[in-house]
Subunit: 206 residues, 2 copies
């Protein structure tokens, strides 16, 4: 239980988390490894093996209880409870992020919003007031925030990332196409829909 998961296992568990969350919302109280396999394109045997490595969560002939499995996976990933994150960028993408239920659904709360545009500072998005990027260090330290989401244009990305790093943020979700230079102890996840699309396109064309 105290062992560190491999990257592959953790990635798959995350997928299961996503499927289970939705299955629960759809009112399914039970789900089989085969059903999860259909939504994730992960081998059903592999799924059972992944799960059984941490305990016997399922019932033979029946499947897994959606609720119970959700809790178990959250325990395994140690991501139960609430997590506060900071959002940088109050533009269109930032607005989309704050108005999406996708974070709240997984126990993630957007606890602060920053921007460098004087016109946007002080504006209210959702139930938060946009703060100046100059205050990122004080506010993040104060609220113990270690995760930041970058929703800024590529030109401002590096500067914004540096602010987050200075504020003690260790995980950055980068929605700009910029490459970020950060210290080795900071983890950057860059999401580029266009590249994902080209990747998908390759498999369609062949």
């Amino acid at each position: 239980m105290a062992e560190r998961l491999t990257v592959g296992v953790a990635a798959r568990l995350s997928r299961y988390l996503q499927v289970l969350t939705q299955a629960k919302k759809m009112g399914k109280d039970r789900i089989s490894s085969q059903e999860i396999a259909e939504y994730t394109n992960i081998n059903a045997t592999q799924i059972r093996r992944d799960l059984s490595a941490f305990g016997k969560f399922g019932r033979r002939g029946v499947g897994y209880r959606t609720d119970g499995l959700l809790d178990e996976i959250r325990k395994i990933l140690r991501t139960q409870g609430q997590h506060n994150i900071a959002l940088v960028g109050a533009g269109r993408l930032g607005a989309a992020v704050t108005s999406s239920p996708i974070f709240a659904e997984h126990g993630i709360t957007i606890a602060a919003v920053f921007d460098n545009d004087p016109d946007k500072i002080g504006q209210v998005v959702g139930d938060l007031t946009v703060s100046s990027i100059d205050d990122v260090v004080d506010i993040c330290r104060d609220r113990n925030i270690i995760v930041g989401v970058l929703a800024v244009p590529a030109e401002s990305a590096q500067e914004a990332a540096q602010g987050l790093v200075d504020a003690g943020v260790k995980i950055i979700l980068n929605y700009s196409e910029a490459l970020l230079d950060v210290p080795p102890d900071v983890n950057v996840h860059t999401s580029n829909p266009a590249v994902d699309l080209l990747y998908a396109l390759y498999f369609h064309l062949t």
Copy 2:
């Protein structure tokens, strides 16, 4: 050259594409496997091996020409030229997508925007007019669109996806948290920032 790439290789080539695109924008005309490795966390030897499987693109003692390597990878992935895609959802996320340069940078053009809200239909976003989702079949078939981006709330996602499928779309980028039921010949890529975040969080906590 005619061989189908494995999933792993194609995924890595996509990462290289992303790095090279940015490196080019930053004015770098040469790049080494070591530099790519730093941005992608992929082993430098692995990178050289991936590339050399398709030809000798680099120059010893120098590195790779950014431009040339970009072209070669595009050739390998067969994603050169322009690609038209459809966007469903003219809300905040849709607006963010249309205003982002991230697609255009990779030769992807948003050729149509759809929504089911009568108030939004007819509005102009960027240089496109929002069409009714009811017209998705006609318009997509007409423009030979096989890729769709879903930027709608989870409640509308399945319905919108069905519209795209009916229109002949084979690749769907799903930005909602919904699970989609589609025919087996349609490829769905779901992007869930919250789940990605929990995944990253696990590795930080251990």
